[in-house]
């Protein structure tokens, strides 16, 4: 079977879809040029991610990984959300077709971007190195202008 039961479930019934009007952090990655746009909103209370929503327009794997990533960080301390890796998301989804693994990177980047936004809004010092991406979708070029 090309797609796991978990991928099918999170694609056809994605969790936490939508937006948070009073989000404490918003992460947007990808762009129209590369074909996927992913936006993750987080609400933070006492250092805990109390609510999270996402809006992704992309392929089925990008949607399933966004959905799973939001489930994995909900209710977790913000530092723990930063530890989320695309590998962990793919494992939780019981695998992705090899050609689709790169889509999972977007979810990890979106979570990190939302946390970075939260840190910036609250003037919290952080190590910018941990937010480095591998440049796989080339969106950095577009974001630079």
């Amino acid at each position: 079977m090309l797609y796991s039961k978990e991928v099918m479930d999170h694609f056809t019934n994605p969790r936490n879809v939508g937006k948070l009007d009073n989000a404490d952090g918003v992460g947007e990655v990808g762009n129209a040029k590369c074909g996927d746009i992913m936006k993750i909103y987080i609400k933070v209370d006492n250092g805990i991610i109390s609510d999270v929503k996402f809006n992704t327009f992309g392929c089925a794997s990008a949607i399933a990984t966004s959905s799973m990533a939001t489930e994995m960080i909900k209710g977790k301390p913000i530092e723990e959300a930063l530890q989320l890796t695309n590998k962990a998301v793919v494992e939780a989804l019981n695998g992705l077709p090899p050609a689709k693994i790169h889509c999972s990177v977007l979810a990890e980047e979106a979570v990190k971007a939302a946390v970075a936004d939260y840190y910036n809004r609250n003037s919290i010092e952080y190590d910018k190195e941990i937010f480095g991406c591998n440049g796989c979708c080339g969106s950095c070029e577009a974001a630079g202008d």
């Binding site: 090309l2 099918m8 990808g30 762009n31 129209a32 074909g35 746009i37 327009f57 992309g58 392929c59």
Partner: protein, 303 residues
Amino acid sequence: MLRDIQDEINRIKKEKDICILAHSYQAREILEVADFTGDSFRLSVMAQKAPQKVVVMCGVRFMAETVKVLSPEKTVYLANPIAGCPMAEQMDKEMISMVKEQYPGYTVVAYINTTTDLKTVCDVCVTSSSAVKIVKKIENDKILFIPDSNLGRYVAEQVPEKTFKILQGGCPVHASVTAKEAVQAKEAHPGALLLVHPECVPEVVKLADFVGSTSEIMKFAKSSDNKEFIIGTEVSIAEHLQYECPDKKFYFLSQKLMCHNMKSTTLIDVYDCVSGRGGEEIAIDEETRLKAKKCIDEMIRLG
């Protein structure tokens, strides 16, 4: 310089008996050398009727494929082979076959912006202008709509008597516009009507004075007595309308409404293609073509 290249393209296409199709999102200089312009389905119908045996599509890949599905006897080229459609490629045949197993008894309605391969597992195609009409006419009350969730939600609102399962795909260009931008554009141009494509997110569609396909937006703007319009679809439409209606004013809803894929085809690509030095000939195996055609035939039957 541009005129010289256009003259040369016109000379070669006459000599080789080639029909050039250009989607409305193409640049003005490409539209000027085209035999037919418009939306993707209109272009594929015009290609069927055209006497030429060779057709060059200036648009994106699924559009060239649709031409080939309807006109298998013709040689069809995509002027620039890198021009794809991210939305058309978001869902694959394997995935939708598995989704169908989860939703037995649903009619799978595919936006025409899908690959030929994906159409082979779908039941009916729709365009953005025919979607509501066709979905209403489908005998089944259960609709699985792919791949554009925004268009799907718009159709579902117009056809409340049916049950919809909508998957989370969409056009990353249209979906990038926010309601905040729409409000700002309306405030900046209080006398202008906001014309929006249903591929935009529902919050933007709600703010629109008119919702329609690209062709419907153009028709509305040209025939309206109003003098100012904010155009909520690909930026080239505002430019083309401004060119055609110099006495009216057209504004972009957002600069983000730029489709890089549509803009990847240049006049030189068209020149190279008609000269036999560029482009890609579209090949579809007969079994795939016939299965995908069923989906388009059903659209024509219900449309």
